[in-house]
């Protein structure tokens, strides 16, 4: 798969980054006002998977490498957090507030370490070889978790991850997730707009030229890989208490595919694109599953159409419209 169609930074270049981000934040804040818990639950999923997809996009949209094994770090983060959660739980099955937050914090560093080991090998390759090696490592980690019953509980997964009473309320857990994802978004935005973020764009566009600027290509790629892995781990850590369990499927290639789909739908050219993709993907999934069991067929068709007709995703389409309008405006004056 080639590098993304849209230039990261175009939203900012058109002065749209803040308004779009603020509008999304306001909408997210208002979600719990909808009747019933269902949409709050769906929106929690949107946020967690959106963070996962944004972390994937650090590799794809900014560094120009596609990973089919990124879910490994989502899963490692989820398991690290869940395993600590289980250890900190009292005999009665409940967990204290401080211990709960401690368990959440375990996800990112453990996922970052896993990313460091996997990335050490992956960044030696580019293109399809990078993609295949990341897939191989992802599947390797999946099978370790799947098979090591004494340590990970194998295909049973880890159950009973009931957060403290306050966060058992769907709205409270949703706001906690929103706060963490917003904070993560701000940090990711800072990184992508930093000199390091722009060096990533140079690696996406032309690695050879970047090396001749004095840039240690592999080291920069590895650091980005670790950052992406740690944010995927944070998303994974949030997933366990949300779904009350973790299972090996979280590390599998199908979960990696979810991040790819979300990024393609929303647009890889900006930080917010994958989050928008998560909104579209998750809401669509929730709606489609109400009426039919053919969700894979539906999403397959949508991805097919996007790849064929909207290579820049939804945000890419908006950019094209903006450009066309601007050109028309220039023509009139």
């Amino acid at each position: 798969m080639s590098a993304p169609e849209v230039q990261p930074g175009w939203l900012a270049r058109h002065g749209l980054a803040r308004p779009v981000a603020m509008a999304m934040l306001v909408l997210f804040l208002l979600v719990p006002l909808l009747p019933g818990e269902y949409w709050t639950q769906v929106s929690t999923e949107v946020l967690i998977l959106g963070l996962f997809a944004m972390s994937f996009n650090l590799l794809y949209g900014y560094m120009g490498q596609i990973s089919f094994g990124h879910a490994a770090f989502f899963g490692v983060g989820a398991y690290a957090s869940a395993m600590l959660f289980v250890r900190l739980k009292t005999a009665g099955g409940s967990i204290g507030m401080l211990d709960f937050f401690l368990s959440l914090l375990a996800g990112p560093p453990v996922a970052a370490f896993a990313a460091l080991v996997v990335g050490f090998f992956c960044v030696r390759l580019t293109g399809i070889y990078f993609a295949m090696l990341s897939l191989a490592f992802g599947e390797l980690l999946f099978y370790i978790v799947f098979s090591w019953y004494s340590f990970t509980k194998g295909d049973d997964g880890i159950q009973g991850l009931l957060p403290p009473l306050f966060f058992q309320d769907a709205v409270n857990y949703y706001y906690l997730t929103l706060a963490i994802v917003t904070l993560a978004f701000l940090v990711l935005w800072r990184i992508t707009e930093s000199p390091f973020g722009y060096i990533m764009r140079t690696l996406r566009d032309n690695q050879r030229r970047a090396a001749f600027l004095g840039i240690n290509v592999r080291l920069h790629m590895l650091i980005n890989f670790v950052i992406a892995g740690s944010f995927a781990g944070l998303a994974g850590a949030l997933w366990g208490p949300f779904s009350r369990s973790v299972n090996p499927g979280l590390l599998g290639w199908q979960e990696s595919g979810v991040a790819v789909f979300m990024t393609l739908i929303g647009g890889a050219g900006s930080l917010i694109g994958p989050l928008l993709g998560s909104v579209i993907y998750t809401l669509l999934q929730a709606v489609v599953k109400m009426y039919t069991v053919y969700w894979p067929l539906t999403i397959g068709t949508i991805i097919l159409l996007i790849v064929l007709f909207l290579p820049g995703g939804v945000l890419g389409l908006i950019e094209k419209r903006l450009k066309a309008r601007r050109s028309a405006g220039d023509g009139e004056t």
Partner: protein
């Protein structure tokens, strides 16, 4: 004047083809030289060997007294050697200013900075390089959408942003109009004359070569066959036979 670059017995082969054969070459600080020769003479390979893109099979490259043989491209760039490529090698999806600014950040050793705002670091230097290369008015354009001549200028700007002490230019005027080529070479002359930048370029346009290089090296089949001032090379019989004859100089 001290030698800034010393190349001794440099050799490279790809399979059975010897593309650079035991080349000895040196440059002095502040010099502006050209390497000429027919297609396949080994000019670009020679530059690739000097800048770490290819590994040498034998020989030694010393820059400012330090052995840089078979160092990686990024290490060599950090030592103060920049290069511009024959086919413009830029960051096509980034704006012109972002191209130069990233090169400035690399030069400032800020490429690992993850929390500073890129748009606020190296602003002055970016503006200076853009102005120097006549790209100020195009700073917000996407690099991939530039005309060929502007892409070559941007390529030069990226190389200059690294604040090199030795600059390699591989066919710097390829694809440019006559006017663009003239102004580009005037800029190179100015950098050499006013800033003392040492420049080595390859070029097929003999008009440019004889007007802008003070020393010429003729390569043929991976070997240096003639070296000297433009007048000496022009008068050389071997040079006439293997290359210059076809250019009627």
């Amino acid at each position: 004047m001290a030698a800034i670059l010393e190349v001794t017995n440099l050799h490279k082969h790809f399979g059975g083809i010897h593309v650079t054969r035991h080349v000895n070459f040196s440059m002095h600080e502040g010099e502006q030289s050209a390497i000429i020769g027919p297609n396949g003479a080994g000019k670009s390979t020679f530059m690739n060997l000097l800048t770490g893109y290819h590994r040498c099979d034998a020989g030694k490259v010393v820059f400012e007294g330090r052995d840089i043989t078979n160092r990686s491209p990024h290490e060599i760039a950090r030592r103060g050697i920049s290069r511009a490529f024959q086919v413009s090698s830029i960051f096509v999806k980034m704006s012109v200013a972002e191209n130069v600014r990233s090169a400035v950040h690399a030069q400032m050793r800020r490429s690992f900075s993850i929390l500073g705002a890129a748009s606020r670091i190296g602003v002055e230097e970016t503006g200076r390089v853009l102005a120097l290369c006549g790209l100020e008015s195009k700073r917000d354009l996407i690099a991939g959408e530039l005309a060929q001549g502007d892409k070559k200028r941007l390529e030069l700007a990226i190389a200059l942003a690294g604040k090199p002490r030795l600059l390699f230019l591989d066919e710097p005027t390829a694809g440019m109009s006559i006017e663009e080529a003239r102004s580009t070479m005037e800029l190179v002359d100015r950098l050499n004359r006013e800033l003392g930048l040492t420049v080595l370029f390859t070029e097929h346009d003999m008009g440019i070569v004889f007007n802008h290089a003070r020393r010429l090296t003729l390569m043929h089949r991976g070997e240096i066959v003639v070296q000297g001032t433009p007048e000496e090379v022009r008068a050389n019989e071997i040079a006439q036979k293997v290359y210059l004859g076809e250019h009627h100089v």
